[in-house]
């Protein structure tokens, strides 16, 4: 396996859970599936369409997103909005994310010449 594959594999694993956060955060403003796809792509968190659409449905089932068919346009589209539950979950995930980031940066900044007692 070359370095490229290793990097891509680990990146994918790291990004997997962040899509939910990105979707819940973006859809605080109501939007369509395709709109979300474009917003995420522009913001540098590009997600595959075949991952995002099924994810939206699962989040709707878990009542983290509220959804309804918008028939005002010439063709019907499903309109999503982050629910109260979704906002709570987003806050919890963000707290988790921040605490992970804090722990990681504490580990990174630990003085390398003073090995942790537990490691030796």
């Amino acid at each position: 396996m070359n370095d490229e594959d290793v990097l891509t594999g680990h990146q994918q694993e790291l990004r997997r859970g962040t899509v939910v956060m990105a979707a819940l955060a973006t859809l605080r403003t109501p939007g369509y599936g395709y709109g979300l796809l474009s917003v995420l792509e522009k913001s540098g968190m590009s997600v595959d369409a075949n991952t995002l659409y099924p994810l939206l449905r699962r989040l709707e089932k878990q009542e983290l997103l509220a959804a309804e068919w918008d028939t005002s346009d010439s063709r019907p589209r499903k309109m999503y909005r982050t629910s109260e539950e979704g906002l709570k979950l987003l806050a919890a995930l963000e707290a988790e994310w921040n605490s992970l980031a804090a722990s990681l940066s504490a580990l990174r900044s630990a003085h390398p010449h003073e090995p942790l007692k537990e490691l030796s």
Binding site: G33, Y34, A49, N50, Y53, P54, K78
Partner: protein, 325 residues
Amino acid sequence: MSTLTHRYITAVGRAVPESQRQDVEAEVAAAIEDLTQARLESGSDPQAAEQEVLVELGDPMRLAAGYANKPLHLIGPDHFPAYVRLLKVLASTVLPVVTCAVILGQIISGAEAGEVAVTALATLWQVALMMAFWVTVVFAAIERTPGSKAMSPQWNPSMLPDPPTGGVRLGDTLASVTMSLIGAAYIVWQNFRSPFTDAAGEPIPTLAPELWPLWIPLMLAGLLASAVVEVLRYRAGGWSWGFVAANAAADLVFAVPLIWLAATNTLLDPRFLGNLVDLGWIDAGLHLNVTIIVITVGVLAWELIDSARKVRGDTAARNLGHAGR
């Protein structure tokens, strides 16, 4: 809506549960519409745009699994260990028991030795296939049962298998060499000593004398070769794949002629069998041939599996020995 898109939507709908079908189909249709529209706006021609969108969404079965939250594997990590363990247990218990029962049944109903051997092998194969098939079906069903994760048995340390005892075992080697030498000695001895004598007072050998020019020396060579392999293995400090291969070759040189001759009823001297029949053992030939085949196949299978199994442990023990020095 073009036929291609229509077919795609139908394919996705078919792969989700009926209760969600209408909803999912509508969502997929809207998604395709949006994605296509975006491509048309950036200047693709309609056909190419549709093609690209369907390729981007990918295999409809995979997409449907995403929508319906269904697994894309037959048996997942929750149940796989239990699945493998159950297969191993069945293969080492049910399989031999059923096969032995079939052999017994055949002997009782008076089948020929060769026929018994063929039936036993066919049964072994069929039972193995059936077992693997049904265990797989049951586990695939469990995998798809909601809440089945809680059903998977909790692992605890007492379920650990015994560690392979690596390294050379003098007892194993002595037993194996002794068996080979006794076998070889018996093949020679039976030619001169026998409970039965013919009209001229000469002893009637157990094995047919016609086998001497070719078959008996071949079997003797096989027995002696496996004794030699055994001694070399002991000196080398246990099994390696080379010894497994050499041992298998030596075993086969002995076992294949033996099984073949027994199956064709040419192994035992007909006069010897005649004497046994006269003593009241009507089916002596059949019983002896089948016993020889079953024991030979069993010992052969055990030898091959056991030696292959021990390679890892012995190699580890050898490396450990080197490291310790």
